[in-house]
Amino acid sequence: MSLYQTQKLLYLLNKDVQLQQSFLADHESVLADYKLTEEEHAALAKQDIGLLYILGVNGQILMHFAAMCGLAWPEYIQAMRDALVIHGNVRTGLYVTTDGKGAV
């Protein structure tokens, strides 16, 4: 259920400029509204794109949060590849990697 909560927050952040500003100014006040595990909470607070990917966040949601956090496309892809080395494969969901190598 808490992956749902993580994705829900990211889904809303992607759509809502005001929420983005609140999150960037004081992420704890935004995170308090969501039932998250400690790991999810920390990943969101630290804007740890790689760990959010490993936790199972859908890439179509995560890529916009990555852009919001200032990651250029190659940096976003690299953050996920680095996280695979650190944490192992994605824990749940459709976005489990096949080989993590891609072409770009």
């Binding site: 749902y4 995560l62 496309w73 993590g100 891609g102």
Partner: protein, 272 residues
């Protein structure tokens, strides 16, 4: 009147957002293919354009996810993505709620489609419109098939949805065009981004060109995920076009795997 144009094209955000990173020939040939498709669409003199896209959490989330949804607003805003990231300016796009509601009412005879009077376009619609209706002067009716958040609608229902859309178009006096957008094989927004299963794409497109219903509906979602990636679920959009154009000849006008765009870039339309 009836359906005057039916086509398919890619909608990957990299096509506009990462165009500066692409090989010049890849970019030039794809953009030229989009120009040809725009010309064919314009030649059909449509009064409205239905865009069937697999959207990506711009409007719908797993709290209330429709398998199929049709927009019914007088205007839409898009793209929802950062305009600089996508390379497309945010703007208002005209809709036609009265025509939308007639189409929805007709489709409901066969498919329990949801409707939405609010809808923001993401790259799934904004990228195709950037090329196909660059003046944004054509009424757009957005359609979503959930290809992102499983459980997903079975492929045979995507076919039935296309058939229902065709019936709805046949009942309308307007000249209606449909464009379905999506990828074939791709692993978008993952560490595998840029991987493209060209052989799988070509086999699928062969089935699409042949209008081979049994072959197109024979894939399981497990097979699609394994061989064509998370983005492969979007073949539902292509299948809906097949359902809408039974008896006519579809042709692929452009196909080229372009890794920086993260998909085998495709345009095609049906000889109506």
């Amino acid at each position: 009147m009836s359906l005057v144009f039916a086509g398919v094209c890619s909608h990957a955000p990299g096509i506009t957002g990462r165009a500066h990173l692409a090989d010049p020939d890849d970019k030039a040939t794809l953009y030229s293919a989009f120009d040809d498709m725009r010309q064919a669409l314009e030649d059909s003199k449509p009064d409205a354009l239905i865009v069937i896209a697999a959207e990506h959490f711009a409007n719908f989330f797993m709290n209330n996810m429709p398998a199929y949804c049709i927009g019914a607003s007088d205007e839409y805003e898009g793209p929802i993505e950062d305009p600089q990231w996508l390379g497309i300016e945010r703007r208002l796009i005209p809709g036609n709620p009265e025509l939308s509601k007639r189409i929805i009412q007709s489709v409901l005879q066969d498919v329990d489609v949801a409707y939405a009077e609010e809808w923001k376009f993401d790259h799934g619609i904004s990228v195709p419109l950037h090329f196909l209706t660059p003046k944004y002067d054509l009424d757009i009716i957005p359609v979503n098939i959930n290809c992102q958040g499983p459980p997903l609608s079975p492929l045979h229902r995507a076919w039935a949805f296309g058939e229902a859309l065709r019936k709805a178009c046949d009942e309308a006096p307007e000249r209606i065009a449909i464009v379905a957008t999506g990828g074939i094989s791709h692993w978008p927004a993952t560490p595998d981004s840029g991987k493209i299963n060209e052989a799988w794409d070509k086999a699928f497109l062969q089935r699409w060109c042949a209008g081979d219903k049994a072959a197109m509906l024979s894939y399981t979602d497990e097979e699609i995920w394994r061989d064509a990636g998370q983005g492969g679920f979007e073949i539902r959009a292509f299948i809906a076009i097949s359902g809408a154009t039974v008896g006519y000849t579809p042709r692929v006008h452009y196909y080229r795997p372009i890794p920086i765009f993260a998909v085998g870039c495709t345009t095609g339309w049906v000889d109506l």
